[in-house]
């Protein structure tokens, strides 16, 4: 017993020495390298022009907004250390950190933010996402060419380290908005020098935890730690490679071979295999997004609320998520996904009913509306070409068949699909929305008269509540108003929510500090590699 104990001690000592040595070696060789599959080739790294989440994975590592995302997705101070908000909620004053530096050592000043925000709004920049910052005073007018003088934008530098942003009206989710890439600063001194080419490797300087080294299109983007970053001491990973892993199956093989440490999404059809063989590395987590079928309410077929209710009721969402998709998606009975602060989602009234009863009621509603087996409601259901969309559409068509609906399926590639939705040239269609920021308004605005309101839902009471909410300072009261608005839309059966999205990721066991969150934002600065 004693002998064994001693041997163990010896072994422990050896192990300790070894681990100390290996730690030492690791820090000498310096290298923590992360290989991230980001799911697509970025179109641009200019934060003013970026428009996709795969681009955000790179740009969000390179640049740091006034506020930024913590590992769990919370909003935390970024380039600003603190801020004050005027009593009416329309003026934000940000105090920038004095040790904020661009990767060329130049200080990050309030002027860089002013420059960037003006550039985003300048119509000539043609920024896709500029509209997300329309709450800023005069932003919309400038972006739409009604005001030509960029200095009219409600953003000004009080001094080098104080930035004042004035809003059109109180916007309680404004801080959430500022985590979006459109609100990142860009280096004025570099953009003025190189113009459009400022984003090229060698020119691009950034103020985030990483700086760009190399971009080989369709191969990889390489970034290394920005030694000027104020919190560089706490950034563990020195080098990041981002790979445009469009082919999910190929990415999975590279992951299995150890060539990738992280990958955005995995091939859905291999989920069963993944769950069986690499359960620890297959991460499925709730995401702030809803998959829904807008009904084109301009079409007389959907004027009757009984028809809208029946169509929604007859869809067995549990079958779709559990038997068809099988990737952990959650059946949706509300338009706003759960998980946003203290917002209480408003669910469709038939949620608790057993499905058979629902189907029976739905059939009765259809019959009351004048449809029967011999005189079915004929619908065209549009979806964009994709395996999963097709499966869902086929299933929905089958479910609707039981309530006297004859559904014709029509698929087209994604560009055509959305062009048709835009023209309101559809009856029922597949659509999806993933939140840009964690606020119910981001979803409910899709039911207000806005461009993305495909179905054309227009309810005066709903609009009034949303307007009132937008003007309400008190966040609890505002939340209650939006809850009321959603309630109205749900009782109108304005649209058919089907399921809430999930984020799917492959995460190697050796990556630490990767935390699932509803916005699926994972900044490399919080991660480390464990050997």
């Amino acid at each position: 017993m004693k002998k064994k104990h001693r041997r163990n001690t010896l072994k422990n000592m050896l192990l300790t020495v070894l681990s100390v040595l290996s730690l030492g070696l690791a820090s000498i060789s310096g290298a923590q390298t992360l290989h991230r599959g980001i799911g697509g080739e970025p179109g641009t790294l200019d934060p003013n022009l970026v428009s996709g989440n795969w681009e955000d994975m790179v740009v969000g590592d390179l640049f740091l907004g006034l506020v930024t995302d913590a590992a769990d997705g919370r909003v935390i101070p970024g380039a600003a250390t603190d801020w004050t908000v005027s009593d009416d909620g329309t003026v934000y004053t940000f105090h920038l950190r004095k040790d904020g530096k661009w990767s060329d050592g130049q200080p990050v000043t309030a002027h860089d933010f002013v420059f960037s925000l003006r550039r985003v709004m300048d119509p000539q920049t043609a920024s896709t996402y500029a509209y997300i910052l329309y709450p800023i005073k005069n932003a919309e007018a400038i972006n739409t060419g009604k005001i030509r003088d960029l200095s009219q934008l409600g953003v000004r530098a009080i001094d080098d380290y104080t930035l004042e942003i004035t809003l059109e009206s109180s916007t309680p989710y404004f801080l959430e908005l500022l985590t979006h890439y459109t609100a990142f600063p860009i280096p004025k001194h570099v953009v003025e020098r190189y113009g459009k080419d400022w984003v090229k490797p060698g020119h691009l300087v950034s103020n985030g935890a990483y700086k760009l080294v190399e971009w080989l299109p369709q191969t990889h983007i390489k970034a290394v730690k920005n030694e000027w970053f104020y919190d560089a001491d706490h950034v563990a990973i020195d080098t990041v490679f981002y790979y445009p892993t469009e082919d999910r199956s190929a990415a999975l093989k590279r992951f299995r071979a150890g060539e990738l440490d992280l990958n955005y999404e995995f091939p859905i059809d291999q989920y069963d295999w993944l769950r069986e063989n690499m359960p620890e590395e297959t991460v499925v987590s709730p995401q702030l997004g809803v998959y829904y079928y807008p009904l084109n309410l301009r079409n007389p077929k959907f004027q009757d609320v009984r028809v809208r209710k029946a169509l929604s009721m007859a869809i067995n969402r549990e079958v779709i998520t559990d038997k068809i998709l099988k990737t952990g998606e959650v059946p949706a009975y509300s338009f706003v996904p759960p998980g946003i602060g203290d917002y209480r989602i408003q669910e469709l009234d038939f949620k608790g009913m057993p499905y058979n009863k629902r189907l029976e009621d739905a059939r009765k509603l259809m019959e009351a509306a004048g449809y029967s087996e011999d005189r079915p409601l004929e619908l065209v259901l549009r979806y964009n070409t994709h395996d999963a969309h097709k499966k869902v559409a086929v299933a929905v068509a089958a479910m609707w068949k039981a309530i006297h609906v004859k559904t014709q399926l029509l698929n087209s590639e994604v560009a055509v699909h959305y062009a048709e939705l835009k023209e309101a040239n559809f009856e029922v269609a597949r659509a999806g929305w993933v939140g840009d920021y964690a606020d119910p308004q981001n979803f409910l605005s899709l039911l207000e008269p806005t461009p993305n309101n495909y179905g054309g839902y227009n309810n005066a009471q709903f609009n009034a509540l949303m307007k009132q909410a937008a003007e309400t300072q008190d966040s609890t009261q505002r939340t209650r108003l939006m809850e009321q608005a959603e309630r109205i839309a749900m009782d109108d059966y304005a649209t058919i929510p089907i399921y809430y999205y999930v984020a799917t990721n492959l995460v190697s066991q050796k990556v630490k500090g990767w935390v699932p969150n509803v916005l699926d934002k994972h900044r490399t600065r919080w991660m480390s590699i464990e050997r």
Binding site: S127, P217, A250, Y418
Partner: protein
């Protein structure tokens, strides 16, 4: 022969013009535009973007503008990959596709011709059946099946070779994609060579050569092979143009930064300038390689003359 080549090159200009015109207008006829996505843009933003890319101008204006650009070697900016011009993308990707394609073609010719000849000379033996069976399988198994099998076996299970990536052109990264590209070529060329070899071996001039008392080896090498290769050569022209412009399947599966993927993706993205760029580039290569084939024909077949 030189004047013939020049004449052919001159003729290629109107051909290219027609190719450009047809593809330009066909592309625009397709519904959906480069900036239609999951989200509908506010009309003002869309107007800003269309203006930035001159898409708000009349179509004929855009066409002549595009032609003017091409004459100056400017293929315009990519609509999707905004930080790059179309020329940037093609010149970054083409060397990669070219290198892989050339290796694959080389393997295809060397192995294909050898196997084909051997099978023809051993016609209707077990060996012949075996090789032709293999070739048939090579043609029948598409490379989107073959490539994942290769990566699974050599990359994931055996860990001999990287599963994907280009790694600035490291040899190890090229092995699997070259093999995956070459296998169907070997199969095609082998079948073609066998067929024409059998035909040639039965012709009069071979009988004459044999009658002169030449050894079988000399008969095959000096006389039969040259004629037997004619159909292979005419296949090689367009096939080479096709293979060196990359394969969307191989490039996606192995994560290779070639230009093959642009042919499909650009069209799906409605990346108008990139589609046009790849079409013009591919069209020019096809014309060039067909010309080369015709010139080689003259060297192989004395009956062909390049006069008017």
């Amino acid at each position: 022969m030189l004047s013939y080549a020049f004449k052919r090159l001159a003729q290629s200009i109107p051909t290219l013009f027609i190719v450009i015109t047809i593809s330009f207008f066909l592309m625009r006829l397709a519904p959906g535009g480069p900036f239609d996505g999951e989200r509908k843009l506010p009309p003002e933003i869309e107007a800003n973007i269309l203006a930035a890319y001159n898409l708000d101008k009349p179509l004929y204006w855009q066409f002549f503008d595009y032609l003017g650009g091409i004459l100056q070697g400017d293929f315009g900016p990519s609509f999707k990959y905004k930080d790059f011009t179309v020329s940037d993308l093609i010149w970054a990707g083409f060397p990669v596709s070219l290198e892989l394609g050339m290796w694959a073609m080389l393997l295809g010719v060397v192995f294909g011709v050898s196997i084909g000849c051997y099978a023809a000379l051993k016609q209707n033996t077990r060996l012949d059946y075996l090789m032709m069976g293999g070739a048939m399988a090579g043609i029948a198994i598409p490379n989107f099946v073959m490539a994942p099998i290769l990566t699974l076996v050599f990359g994931v299970y055996l860990s001999w070779l990287p599963v994907g990536g280009w790694d600035s052109g490291a040899v190890a990264n090229k092995v699997l994609p070259v093999i995956a590209l070459a296998l169907p070529q070997i199969a095609y060329i082998a079948r073609m060579t066998r067929g024409s070899m059998i035909e040639v071996m039965g012709s009069h001039f071979i009988r004459t050569a044999r009658a002169k008392g030449l050894s079988e080896r000399k008969v095959v090498r000096r006389h039969a092979l040259k004629s037997a290769l004619l159909p292979v050569v005419s296949y090689l022209g367009p096939a080479t143009a096709g293979i060196i412009t990359g394969s969307v399947v191989i490039e996606q599966i192995f994560g290779i930064p070639g230009i093959g993927r642009y042919f499909v993706q650009a069209a799906l993205n409605r990346d108008y300038t990139l589609v046009m760029g790849t079409v013009v580039f591919y069209g020019a290569l096809i014309i060039l390689f067909n010309l080369v084939v015709d010139l080689i024909y003259g060297l192989l077949d004395p009956q062909i003359r390049y006069d008017d």
